[in-house]
Symmetry: C2
Subunit: 517 residues, 2 copies
């Protein structure tokens, strides 16, 4: 009965449609409406819109943003004229219609990242996207100046993806009370889970937009165990979880740089059951209007990434990229992109997950790379005020980011990406057969390398140029002369005139051979 009361009031309210100055394909278009403020708008009001352009239709959920403002957010997937019409249980929000044109994207707008060629990613416009991620779990829960410093650090880093939590973090080195909370209520743990705090989400939106400007994907972690009941966001009931997920979808899905990471260390959340994770995933897969990427990141037990709703395997397992022949095993199993989002961190804390040398961190990036997978960075150097990059952001202190930038340049120089060649047989060589061969020598120290490249059923002789790349010292030295490689036996290329190449006796070398046409 109460609902009918405010519905009448509503008719008197002015409806306002805010037009963003320029709507690009993959940009953002928002319908903003005024509606009821009484009762609980989060529960009482249903709102959505259907956006149509030719044959294409996208159904977008709306959400309440406080102070009588309702919003429906849409990112047009195609250029053209889009029509929309709203549906609501509130007459004043129902049946609103309009149209706008989505123009061609400009500047650095390549669209959202999608899965490409089974194991890789590309922006929607086809531009390859090769994730070079880092981790600042709780960076949006810090003081303003620290958050700005994090953005500045990211700006000068090689990283194009950031793992970050929606909820604040309560963990070792992370005891600070956050400045704002996602729900109305009283800290630390008396929350009205049926009423969101729009300020909290506006702040997060602002940070995500700033990341977008830097070309950084926001790998947004929706749940995590680092709460342990302090605030209780790790133990909400089923309805609150689902309402929160739907609110996130309605508010954040329009950002083309948002990825949904359902959890960090999902299996460490004792309050959740296996069926909860499946349900979260089904909700997001079914209801996300923009179908952003979806993953579930593990602790000790790996989620079933073979589920069709999972777009890519987000894996914690440092051992998988610490030596040859391991990372590739996951690729075969999932036949999806594999992103090792947690391989331990460069740092000097006592926990073994946070004391990698910079050399080891870089080595793990290379191991992942030659396996045709992707690796994420994190940093855990002790700090007098516990401002540790991995959680709070701030400044990068380690030596790996420069080397990771160097790796990124090598990776981006590969015209058709890097794939294992002769997987399960030749663990060190990747690239593309008949075109590019990268041979990573890892920690091996030797004064020579015996020329041998995988044949993979190629018949013709190859003429190649070679380069010696020092992945730690970040140098690329051409090797003089050319290499005339011929098939030798069933499986390899051999170079009869130059069977052996002299190399310096240092670790972390990479040989790059390019076929000369």
């Amino acid at each position: 009965m109460r609902r009918f009361a405010f519905v009448v009031v509503l008719g008197l309210l002015i409806q306002c449609c805010q037009w963003l100055p320029a709507v690009e394909r993959w940009g953002r278009y928002e319908i903003s409406l005024y509606g009821p403020v009484d009762g609980n708008p989060y529960l009482d009001v249903t709102l959505s819109a259907e956006f149509t352009c030719g044959d294409e239709t996208v159904h977008c959920p709306g959400f309440y943003d406080g102070n009588g403002t309702y919003r429906i957010r849409f990112s047009p997937p195609s250029v053209g004229q889009w029509n929309y019409a709203t549906t609501s249980n509130v007459p004043g929000l129902n049946g609103k219609s309009g149209q706008f044109t989505a123009d061609r994207p400009s500047g650095q707008n390549h669209g959202p990242v999608q899965v490409s060629q089974v194991f890789h990613f590309a922006y929607a416009d086809g531009t390859p996207y090769r994730p070079i991620g880092t981790t600042c779990y709780a960076w949006t829960h810090q003081a303003e100046d620290l958050e700005e410093q994090t953005l500045d650090s990211l700006k000068h880093s090689p990283f194009n993806k950031l793992r970050m939590c929606v909820f604040p973090k309560n963990y070792a080195y992370n005891a600070t009370e956050p400045p704002r909370f996602p729900f109305e209520g009283t800290p630390p743990n008396k929350w009205e889970y049926e009423r969101f705090n729009p300020d909290f989400f506006r702040h997060l939106e602002n940070r995500i937009e700033q990341l977008e400007e830097l070309g950084i994907e926001a790998d947004l972690i929706l749940f995590h165990p680092y709460d342990e009941g302090r605030w209780g966001f790790d133990r909400m009931d089923e309805k609150s979880d689902d309402r929160y997920l739907r609110y996130m979808l309605a508010r954040f899905s329009w950002y083309r740089n948002v990825w949904w990471s359902l959890a960090n260390e999902f299996d460490f959340m004792d309050q959740k059951q296996a069926a909860d994770w499946d349900r979260y995933l089904e909700i997001i897969a079914a209801e996300d209007p923009h179908q952003r990427l979806r993953s579930v990141h593990n602790g000790r037990q790996i989620y079933n990434h073979n589920r069709p709703e999972i777009t890519h395997a987000s894996i914690q397992n440092g051992s998988a990229v610490s030596d040859f022949g391991r990372a590739i095993l996951y690729r075969d199993v999932y036949r999806k992109p594999v992103v090792f989002d947690e391989v331990k961190y460069e740092g000097n804390i006592t926990q073994r997950w946070g004391n990698l040398s910079a050399q080891e961190m870089v080595h793990r990036f290379w191991q992942g790379t030659i396996a045709g997978t992707y690796v994420g960075h994190g940093e855990t150097y002790q700090h007098p005020e516990n401002i540790i990059w991995w959680a709070k952001g701030g400044q990068l202190h380690g030596q790996s980011p420069d080397r990771i930038a160097f790796l990124r340049s090598i990776v981006e120089d590969a015209p058709h990406g890097i794939e294992p060649i002769d997987k399960w047989q030749n663990e060190r060589t990747a690239g593309r057969k008949g075109e590019l061969y990268l041979v990573y020598l890892g920690k091996q120290i030797s004064d020579h390398w015996n020329f041998e490249l995988p044949r993979e059923r190629l018949e013709e002789p190859l003429k190649l140029k070679g380069e010696l790349i020092d992945t730690w010292n970040m140098t690329v030295h051409p090797i003089e002369g050319e290499f005339d490689a011929v098939p030798f036996g069933q499986y390899v290329y051999y170079c009869p005139e130059r069977p052996t190449i002299k190399i310096p006796e240092i670790p972390y070398l990479l040989l790059r051979f390019t076929v000369i046409h």
Copy 2:
């Protein structure tokens, strides 16, 4: 109309029920009936029986065995009085009922092998079963004396599982025409796929029974690509495939030592689509009255072993057991038993999949073992008449079987099985925390081992006895004295009084530490 004709004739036929002398739990009980011989009994007659004992009901399909004989085969899963009643579209086969008693199993009858404790196997009576497999793909398609020789070789081997194909094999070293074929028709490739050849299947049954007597599980490969159209069993149509599968279920499921391996190298069968494999699996999972183990073995592309119908991951990938830290990755992904059924073969042929040294084969067995997985053997030594164990059976010529027997004894000495301890961190140590620690040193050669065992959150000091095991020379030497191990830091046990153990400078050593109570 034709069917009605023979139904009338049927009424005149005598029905006969053959009672096996002793029916044990997990043994074999057969209903044998006489029925129509005209038309095509394989297509025209439906027959099944419901077996009931208390609350338990098992639905068993029947099959036609030629010469007017119809059979329904059942292996009672429980002790007790079983009642049955048949159903058929032929009146003379319909509504037959009877009863029998299943007694307690005797001798070596431990029941069928099932999955146990997520990653392992046990017989139905709870006795652990640890697969130590080998491979003779086409051994049942050879001359009588060769087949008998294979059985004799198996009898004197450590192997308790055999991979073997139902269909004959046409491949390198395998050009012999088989003595019998599964269908009526004219060799090489004019088959009446709607009429089975009972002789072919009776021969196979005989071999499976002989394996059962030897305590060997028959990992029966239902399809394989090594035909290439010579006989055409790799390219039957959908209906023929499904009819064949159902015939196999009806005839062979009652053997408690049968496992269903849907394929060898399923992805090399160009005529089959992904959906075919899913369908085969669904048929077997839904219709197998005895729910024998189910797997799909890969070539280059791994089947989705996360499917619920798959009981265990049957994997070809030698590289996964060639070095530390690899095999375990599959375990985490599937949370099912992982059996590396093809890791290349001990032998000396030119193909790289058939030229492992015996040392390397044994090393791979140990790699799989310490990862909590299982490994299969095969042998490919050149032979003047191409009698190669991996396909035709015959005699074993290699040096690995004796070492595999030795491994089997070590494995069977582990009272609670072998699990990785501190997975992803300590790649060399397996066993059971607080009880048994096996440290495999692989190819590493050193004159000492620094005492370090994983803690895995144990708090108490441990007193241990140690043994030095040479996995190649098959010796077990006690290490004098005891080891008093204490927690050191968060992650390891250390032995302050004996921080270093002297070891011989040879490869393939295993240290075994047992906690003394």
